[in-house]
């Protein structure tokens, strides 16, 4: 049913259609609207049987999810940013135990400095946690991915993280085609756990494993992800047939045919990038875009195929690997291994950190520089180098310079005030 709806609410309604049985939740922006909506649905009886549990931390949210999932319940939670980091130990535990929990990450920056706005630092930091990671480009895709996520998680007995851009998607009201209950029931069978805590058949879950078998257990986690590379496109195709629209999968290409320049990105920024690609194509520029829909498992072959004909690759990523920026970012280091020609230029573009808008104007300039091969290997999009230089000068001049972030903000405000006065 076509509805004009906020992204968070669309996700909450879709998750409810997946009949989760236990939903532990802890509030953190910008994820809160999702669990608020679910709590209301449980309390009103619209979503039943379901236990909604207000926990006292994200660490407990994931821990309650672990207990519920191990006891055979379909389990869902949502988090973001600091919350995702606070549950890290439990994240690895959930994947290590092979518990098919589905979680939304409303992508948000990580402090310090504290920042509630969107980037991908949070989920990128957990790329090796053993969770499958999928990135939604739109609210329609975010909603649809949750239906697929439960299927994928439960078939493989491994957890799935559905990442959607905080605020940009979670708080955006746009048209979403919400599925019907019968459609979802037809697509998503009841959860049949591989392992379950059952007094009738007692098992020990989570005991110690020594060097004699640890490698094999870990190898099988990797093997599961390799299976996911096959399953994810199958589930996306089944979804397309059942629901009549395409969502999810591993990789999606946009006007990449014979493209000299291919832009790779994740999440909602693809919309802006595709608009720029359209404009440039209209001007006769040979450029296309690739959406990385699944980051883990990493779709190496599909990406390889998608960028095969390119003469250069531009990776726009909303996260920063501090200390390795000179040779690439988190995503571009992954993309690099998918190149057929290792000498091909891969330009890393760090963009949209802490919610900085990624504008069409900036992207056009960026792509023009890339196509002229004028870019550094790593570029910080719209970086105010003068602000940075002045802080570096202050640091060089004096020992006790105080909180760096405050200095930058004061400097930026002073400039803005001066410009306003002059205007």
């Amino acid at each position: 049913m076509l509805t004009q709806i906020e992204g968070s609410l669309a996700v909450a309604k879709t998750v409810a259609l997946c009949r989760p049985e236990v939903v532990p939740a802890y509030p953190i922006s910008p994820q809160t609207h999702i669990v608020e909506a679910l709590s209301a649905m449980v309390k009103s009886g619209e979503l039943t049987p379901c236990e909604f549990i207000n926990v006292e931390s994200e660490f407990s949210a994931m821990s309650v999810a672990i207990g519920a999932s191990a006891a055979g319940a379909r389990t869902y939670t949502a988090t973001a940013s600091q919350g995702l980091l606070f549950m890290v130990e439990a994240l690895y535990n959930a994947s290590g135990l092979g518990l098919p929990i589905v979680m939304t990450v409303a992508n948000r920056a990580i402090g310090a400095p504290i920042n509630i706005w969107n980037d991908h630092s949070d989920s990128m930091s957990q790329r090796d946690s053993g969770w499958i990671q999928m990135y939604a480009r739109s609210n329609q895709e975010a909603a649809d991915l949750h239906v697929q996520a439960f299927r994928i998680a439960e078939e493989l007995s491994t957890p799935v993280m559905v990442c959607m851009d905080g605020f940009l998607l979670t708080h955006a009201v746009e048209q979403v085609d919400l599925p019907e209950q019968e459609q979802v029931d037809g697509f998503l069978p009841p959860y049949e756990p591989r392992q379950v805590l059952d007094p009738a058949d007692p098992v020990t879950i989570g005991a110690m494993v020594g060097p004699e078998a640890f490698t094999e257990v870990k190898y099988l986690a990797h093997h599961t992800h390799m299976q996911a590379l096959e399953l994810i496109p199958q589930v996306a195709e089944e979804f397309r047939q059942a629901f009549g629209r395409s969502s999810g999968g591993l990789v999606d290409t946009y006007r990449c045919e014979d493209a000299d320049t291919v832009v790779v990105a994740l999440g909602s920024v693809l919309g802006t990038i595709q608009d720029v690609v359209d404009d440039l194509r209209d001007e006769g520029v040979s450029i296309g875009a690739v959406s990385l829909l699944t980051l883990r498992p990493f779709p190496l072959d599909e990406l390889h195929e998608a960028i095969r004909g390119a003469r250069r690759v531009v990776v726009v990523e909303k996260a920063l690997a501090v200390g390795i920026g000179g040779i690439g970012g988190i995503v571009s280091l992954n993309v690099r291994v998918a190149l057929s020609d290792p000498t091909l230029p891969v330009y890393t573009v760090i963009a949209g950190l802490g919610g900085r808008p990624i504008t069409m104007v900036s992207l056009r300039r960026l792509f023009a520089d890339a196509m002229a091969d004028r870019l550094e290997r790593t570029t910080f999009l719209d970086l105010d180098t003068e602000l940075v230089e002045r802080e570096l000068a202050r640091v060089a001049a004096k020992r006790r310079t105080g909180p760096l972030a405050e200095n930058i903000i004061r400097d930026a405000s002073a400039i803005a005030a001066r410009q306003a006065a002059e205007a």
Partner: protein, 350 residues
């Protein structure tokens, strides 16, 4: 609590022989009916108080729930010595997740049982003092506050024993651990404010809070059974001597536990909805030295180069407990008298 008037024949020990009570009230170590939830063959040290406490607590919980029980375990000695794969001691469904999350995992299991209409299946979570009073404290308080249907059992051996005897928030003042060593002007652990988790649990007004020691296994079993007869968040704090960490003889575990109670250092009581409803009175008060002298972790306090002022300080803590809980107010308490005729057993303790 079931009580039975008995003739007290033994003198000196206060031990009520099993054979003196009615058959149905007798504690039985080994029968075909016993579930042996934590089975023999595990790797606990000789004289381990935690293994003993867990065996009696879980078997009692199994009896009380008609074997419809799921256990959640924090990381720690109990988790490590009862496994690794495939040599699990656990004869009931059991899950170990992390060090600091057992209360929350248990909440999740209980929620799953409720949503599946299996409220007959009950949940016990268990951990050591480190997992309970320190790293798992937030999750435990959350579980209490929500009044989730979980019995949490803390086996308190007063330090991080699994990692090699380091101080926890439950380590008593002056005790030697590997991170509170016997060096400097104030050897051993500091005299801090303490972290009395039974009282913190009571402050949540949860339905049931109790303490117990492995010196009185019938009392422990009784409290577990009582806890399982209730719904909501329940907390049981069991003192379990650790021969390795405490430097006590492995054959003295029961005696050490008994002296902890009899000195007043470890008050044994029950509370319902935030109010103390019963205490196990001290039967024959002993000075704290009697408890300390059995343990090498207090060796620096005693003897010719000892620290009598520190011992006095510990005695003051015992006196404070005695006053707070009225531990000497029982019928027979505090007189130091050995009964020679008839004892009215409040419980079968000691």
């Amino acid at each position: 609590m079931t009580t039975q008037q008995i003739r007290f024949y033994q003198t000196g020990s206060f031990a009520v022989g099993n054979r003196l009570v009615d058959v149905e009230l007798r504690s039985v170590q080994s029968t075909v009916d016993r579930t042996n939830s934590i089975n023999s063959g595990h790797r606990a040290c000789q004289g381990c108080g935690e293994a003993l406490g867990a065996r009696y607590a879980l078997d009692a919980a199994m009896r009380a729930t008609n074997n419809q029980l799921i256990a959640v375990n924090a990381t720690g000695c109990l988790e490590v010595f009862s496994t690794p794969y495939p040599e699990s001691s656990w004869q009931l469904p059991w899950i170990h997740s992390l060090f600091g999350n057992a209360p929350a995992v248990a909440t999740g299991v209980a929620a799953a049982m409720r949503v599946k209409g299996r409220s007959d299946v009950r949940v016990v979570a268990q951990g050591g003092d480190g997992g309970t009073v320190d790293i798992g404290f937030g999750a435990l308080s959350g579980m209490f506050e929500r009044n989730d249907d979980v019995l949490y059992i803390c086996y308190d051996n007063e330090a991080y024993m699994n990692t090699g005897v380091q101080r926890s928030g439950a380590t008593p003042p002056a005790a030697r651990t590997m991170t509170t060593q016997v060096v400097g002007s104030e050897p051993g652990n500091i005299f801090g404010q303490g972290k009395n988790l039974p009282r913190i649990a009571m402050a949540h007004d949860i339905p049931y809070v109790a303490t117990a020691t492995v010196a009185d296994l019938r009392d422990l079993e009784d409290k577990v059974e009582k806890a399982m007869s209730m719904r909501g968040a329940r907390y049981l704090h069991v003192l379990v001597p650790c021969p390795l960490g405490w430097g006590s003889a492995s054959g003295k575990t029961i005696e050490v536990a008994r002296l902890a109670k009899e000195s007043g250092l470890f008050p044994v009581f029950e509370a319902e909805n935030g109010v103390v409803v019963s205490v196990s009175p001290i039967r024959r008060q002993v000075p704290v030295e009697r408890y300390l002298e059995l343990q090498a972790r207090y060796k620096h306090l005693l003897g010719p180069h000892g620290r009598p002022e520190v011992v006095e300080h510990l005695q003051a803590i015992a006196e404070k407990n005695i006053a707070r809980y009225g531990l000497l107010s029982g019928d027979d308490g505090g007189q130091g008298l050995i009964p020679d005729d008839v004892e009215v057993a409040h419980t079968f303790s000691i």
